[in-house]
Symmetry: C2
Subunit: 141 residues, 2 copies
DNA sequence: ATAGGTGCAAATGGTTTGCGAAAAC
DNA sequence: GTTTTCGCAAACCATTTGCACCTAT
């Protein structure tokens, strides 16, 4: 188990406890797009004593230290994912709920341009697309 | 006062009651980016008997009939605005909360391209940018 | 011994719902 | 006279917080 404490953006160092490690593992395994409730569900499977409060506290901590990203997909769900290299965005199917990740230089360029045009320093860019995938589009009729 | 009932995407026609009219007026006057709480606050000023439930029910109705758009800005706030011509997106300042609207052909193009590449029929595209405006960027130090 | 982390239960805040009364058709 | 809408209060759900206990320095 990791023993050291870390210091990123966060003011104070923090300990990697067994609970936090478990939650990190779950986020790692999930890869992407997992919400708090599901994190709790899976954590609870492996450690029935863990509390939902701990899950929320950990997610907040990880978010603040920059370990994970928080995103909003679809209607209202709030999802978390381990931070990765390379911006990517999401396309969510209203039919089957499938989530497709998209990336590419155009998004970056677009953000850069908007930044310049509006004299803004952009710290977070989120493009969220909803629609229907090929299969669901056909089923619609 | 409008008296007719309307029929857009929504299955059943619905009446334009005084409450709904009031809420529509408020949305109209606000122009954009107003959340449920603020709609209620203003509605309550003019008609102290109106209930928050009516506000939520009306917002949902308007959204479903396509009269207004629901968007998520910044952290978690859910905002509403009368539907307008021309896509536009939002840039929100984490410092002062100011919201800048941006538009332009590049966003459209980007969405079109992603649509093609992923064989998706996109029904809703939302680009949400967070950052710091010029003034707040300087104040930061 | 002290600071930080956890579990529990209660609090919070935003949104929705059940229901009887009122209004619209 | 039916159907829809409203106001109210209660319910709901996700998230946060206060607090006593626990754990690792």
């Amino acid at each position: 188990m990791l023993r050291m404490s870390r210091n990123l953006n966060y003011a104070k160092p923090w300990a990697v406890t067994t609970q936090r490690e478990l939650i990190l593992d779950i986020l790692q395994e999930a890869g992407a797009h997992i919400d708090a409730k599901e994190v709790y569900r899976r954590a609870n499977e492996r450690d029935p004593r863990i509390s939902i409060a701990t899950v929320y506290r950990s997610l907040r901590l990880f978010k603040e230290t920059g370990l994970i990203d928080e995103r909003r997909l679809g209607q209202m769900r709030c999802c978390y994912e381990i931070k990765r290299r390379g911006e990517h965005h999401h396309l969510i199917c209203r039919g089957c709920g499938r989530i497709v990740e998209v990336e590419g230089p155009l998004i970056q360029q677009l953000v850069m341009q908007l930044q310049r045009e509006n004299r803004f320093h952009v710290t977070k860019a989120e493009l969220c697309l909803e629609g229907y995938c090929e299969a669901c589009e056909e089923n619609q009729r």
